[in-house]
């Protein structure tokens, strides 16, 4: 996941179908039934699938990009400041979406989240690694249950 979502021209659904056109996923099929609960988590209905990607706000585009990645059921998500360009509401939605995805299979899933936001780091991470100018400067393990 990049800082700014990169969507192709077309509807939201066409964007969600995109990974299934790749050879690496040819044995799998796109399913609306998988997508609808994910959309419900971010307060979006089925009609959202027909919206053009050009009409989406930055937050909505980021949500679509995240759902597009999550529907593939990856074991690891790499998130490069996914909420850096989002408003507070969209940030919360993205955080919640990732949190629920992780909570489904916490022993088999993981994510690496790059962030400059210390509050966000404190709320989403188990293990925090700090970097300064490309050098590791610290590592803290924290239990998610202990976090505020």
């Amino acid at each position: 996941m990049q800082q700014r979502a990169t969507l192709i021209d077309g509807t939201v659904e066409e964007n969600l179908r995109l990974p299934f056109t790749f050879r690496s996923h040819h044995q799998r099929e796109y399913s609306r039934q998988t997508i609808l609960p994910l959309l419900a988590q971010v307060n979006r209905t089925e009609s959202f699938l027909d919206r053009s990607s050009r009409e989406l706000s930055g937050g909505e585009a980021q949500i679509v990009a995240l759902i597009r990645a999550v529907q593939l059921e990856p074991s690891l998500l790499l998130l490069d400041e996914p909420t850096a360009a989002l408003d507070e509401e969209s940030t919360l939605m993205v955080e919640e979406l990732i949190d629920r995805w992780f909570a489904e299979l916490p022993t088999k899933r993981a994510f690496v989240w790059v962030s400059h936001n210390k509050e966000q780091v404190a709320s989403v991470a188990n293990q925090v690694v700090t970097m300064n100018q490309g050098q590791l400067t610290g590592e803290v393990n924290q239990s998610r249950e202990q976090l505020p």
Partner: protein, 234 residues
């Protein structure tokens, strides 16, 4: 066919055209005189050198000499194609030489072995060298435009390509739309050339038709005479 041999005097007359450029440069104060002289001298030296090489290839008249020269021409064309692109990447020269070779040699072989099949042996330098040279020129243009477009597309659409790669696309799948556009751009000059050729042919036909129409419409005498003649036959 009779060949016209150019004398040194004729070549001198052609070279004298550079003087016109020099005069314009002096008149407008462009300060291009030195550059013009250098370019002219360089061109003369290059042409003399190429002339010597061509003379030896022509006199040798052996397939390996012709193929060797064509190989050198192909490599130079491949390198030149990269030289015209704005962005370069590792392996660009090899890619370019392969692209120019594949496109040119297949067409040249088809032309020499199928279209000019009456010419024996097929490697006659007076046919093989200029024909392949012309094809190489077109390939060079197409390949350089295509490479330029491809590198530009990949640079401007880097985020999209990276996003596709992270979603499991292969390198080919991620770059396919850029490649498609690059091929389209590379083919554009040759398509325009076809269109110009078609337009020229169409123009010639139109001129002929208009002339005929004027002829027939002058006082209908020509047409009337034809009709009369036809009736007489029946």
């Amino acid at each position: 066919m009779k060949y016209h041999e150019l004398l040194l005097f004729d070549v001198g007359l052609a070279a004298a055209l550079i003087v016109i450029n020099a005069v314009i440069s002096i008149a407008l104060g462009l300060k291009l005189g030195r550059l013009l002289v250098l370019a002219a001298v360089r061109t003369i030296l290059q042409l003399l050198l190429i002339g010597m090489v061509l003379e030896s290839v022509f006199s040798l008249n052996k397939w390996y000499a012709v193929l060797g020269l064509l190989l050198v021409m192909t490599i130079v064309a491949g390198i030149s194609a990269v030289g015209r692109t704005e962005r370069c990447y590792r392996g660009a020269y090899i890619d370019s030489v392969i692209a120019v070779s594949c496109s040119s040699w297949i067409v040249a072989a088809y032309a020499l072995l199928a279209i000019f099949r009456d010419i024996q042996p097929w490697y006659q330098p007076q046919y093989a060298i200029p024909l392949t040279g012309m094809i190489l020129g077109n390939s060079l243009n197409g390949v350089s435009l295509g490479m330029n477009r491809l590198s530009e597309q990949l640079a401007t659409q880097r985020d999209q390509v990276e996003a596709m790669l992270t979603l499991g696309a292969t390198r080919w799948e991620a770059a396919r739309s850029s490649v498609r556009q690059a091929v389209h751009t590379g083919m554009t000059p040759i398509i325009i050339m076809f269109l110009i050729a078609a337009a020229t042919a169409l123009g010639t036909v139109c001129v002929v038709l208009l002339s005929c129409r004027r002829l027939f419409n002058a006082d209908h005498q020509f047409l009337a005479a034809l009709i009369e003649k036809d009736r007489g036959r029946r």
